[in-house]
Amino acid sequence: MSAVRQVFFIARRDFLQRARSKAFLVSMLIIVLLVAALGPLLALDDETPGPYDVGVVGVEPAGLEASLQSAVRLFDRRAVLHRYGSRAAGEAALQSGDADVLLVDGREVVWLEEPAPQLAAIVTGAVGETERRRVMDELGLSEDDVARLMAPSPLDSTTLREPDPEAEPRRVAAYAGNLVLYISILMFGQFVLMGVMEEKSSRVIELVLSRAQPRHLLAGKVIGVGALGLVQLVVFSVAVLIMLSLSDIADVDLTGLGLRTVATVFGWFLVGYGFFSVLYAALGATISRQEDTQGVAMIPVLFLLPGYFISFVALEDPDAAVAVVGSLVPPLSPLVMPIRSITGGVPVGEVALSVALLLVATYGLIRLGGRIYRGSILRIGARVRLREAWQASQR
């Protein structure tokens, strides 16, 4: 009986048992619902905004409609004028949402709540233009002069850099990918912890260890639960990619961006989960009671959270010193490097260094955590102190 075969059977058991657990099934359902809900939201965001509804009551400045339309064009929007017989009717239209703003006697603007800055500028500009036209008429200026005053020759405009239509989608992808990574590492790490603890609390551990070495049991569990994590990521990614391929933003290859994000998340899940699952397993081996779970489950979170916070810095400025350092140093790197990779160009060498450092840290943790696991896995009852576990494993 080869060790590989044993590890396979152990991994297979943990995979199947966890896959049937309520916690996993509920999480899968939530993912599918989330992605399904996200699709229509993206589609909504893609639509061009509707016209402004401008209500007018009382005296209407001459030429208001023409001025309004020319003012609103500057903002690439449209406006529809609604005329009401009384102020009360106009305010009722504001209340019901039929009008966005109400212009009373060409002198007062009424809003439902906060003034909308863009619309306020449009209406103020349009009313101002009607006023200027009236004054110019009074002064008796020629048509040419009026035209020169009203439409001064436009300024030349030059851009130094082409806008990157992918910049914003990349930020969103990086943010979403990071959130998925954080949740996945946390969730499947805790599955490992629960699995190890349950083997102790149910006392089955002695029977299992009479057949398999602790290190093979540990490896099987980490691999089985990790494989389940990959399955969940695959389902999630496929759902997201299908959704992205259906939505359509001009000039942006959403599917390509989605594939790059998915590949980054997968890669970093493998190495990040590798590190944290061993930490969770070692800690899980020190307890055998449900009520002790909360206490030890917090410890890996303390290692995971700093990376998560630094990832927000990296999202704003991928080249900030703290982001660069965080993306290289384990165990911060699994949550910082993906953000930098997705949002901006990170040299391949830097990514390779980051992965190498994390693998070295994981190897060290396997040596350390493996001993803690070995030293405490057969001790049922009160929580095993780490020093005791270390000493017990030396015997």
Binding site: E199, E206, L207, L209, S210, R211, Q213, R395
Partner: protein
């Protein structure tokens, strides 16, 4: 053959094993007895490789067992436990496969055990849905599903009703008849007497008595005498003769080579109508008490 040779093991200040050693031969059922804390469980865990002895060694057919050898051992720990939310058939297949059986062979063996323990109709039940007695049966099956050459059973009879005891005893006899070595610990000495052929008694981490049940009985310098006159218990009047009163109030006398049994008999006959005069070899309980008290 399994041999434990001069095993020593300390846990902090507690001496669990202090030079324990004995053999368990193939095809024989060995009862492993001793007071609580005598070192039975530690010795069994040493055999399974769950505890590493400080010194001494465990030998399987003359050499230290490797993991591959240990996969041919079956183990029922004193602390019972299986996966509570796993279906019992899957559980048996898992443990058989973990011990080296192919998946197909594991499935066949699991089904045989379920059939044999009358649990075939519960094959897809989760362990936690079963009664306590049925969980015990699954536990036994999990220990033996891979057809071990050596079964190490820690208190296999504890918690069983009389019918459960009978079926467990039958299974052990069957296994031994098929050539497997069986080492089991127990506190129920009357039961051990019925089931086992060889006995090892351990006290304070040391083996104080071992051999076949017959050897041990014949080797004891003591006999036990029970006398009734006119249907009532009767006491002889002989200097130095010692009475043992059992928990049920049954009174017996310890007879050594020096005890004048003919005098006792003469006194009894003189006292009236002798309705019982039983001179018996020591029971296992007697041997146990003698050995542990030494």
């Amino acid at each position: 053959m399994l041999s434990l040779v001069d095993l020593h093991k300390r846990f902090g200040d507690v001496v669990a094993l202090d030079g324990a050693g004995f053999d368990a031969r193939p095809g024989r059922i060995v009862g492993f007895l001793g007071p609580n804390g005598a070192g039975k469980t530690t010795a069994m865990r040493c055999v399974l490789g769950l505890v590493a002895p400080d010194s001494g060694e465990v030998l399987w057919n003359g050499s230290p067992p490797t993991l591959r050898h240990r996969l041919r051992f079956g183990y029922m720990p004193e602390e019972r436990g299986l996966y509570p939310r796993m279906r019992i058939r899957e559980q048996l297949v898992y443990f058989a496969a973990l011990s080296g059986l192919s998946r197909a062979a594991a499935a066949v063996s699991a089904d045989e055990w379920l059939q044999r323990l009358s649990l075939a109709d519960r094959a897809n039940s989760k362990l936690e849905e079963l009664s306590h007695g049925n969980q015990q049966r699954v536990q036994l099956a999990a220990s033996l599903v891979h057809g071990p050459e050596l079964a190490i059973l820690d208190e296999p009879f504890s918690g069983l009703d009389p019918l459960g005891v009978d079926s467990m005893a039958a299974i052990l006899r069957e296994l031994a008849a098929a050539g497997a070595g069986i080492l089991f610990s127990s506190h129920q000495l009357d039961l051990v007497e019925d089931v086992c052929e060889d006995v090892v008694i351990i006290a304070a981490g040391r083996v104080v008595l071992s051999g076949t049940l017959d050897e041990l009985r014949n080797g004891s310098g003591y006999r036990y005498l029970e006398v009734a006159v006119g249907g009532n218990e009767w006491s002889p009047d002989i200097r130095g003769i010692e009475a043992i009163v059992g928990v049920t109030g049954r009174r017996r006398y310890v007879i050594t080579a020096d005890t004048p049994v003919d005098q006792v008999m003469a006194q009894a006959i003189a006292a009236g109508d002798v309705t019982k005069f039983a001179l018996e070899p020591p029971s296992l309980s007697d041997l146990f008490r003698e050995a542990v008290a030494r």
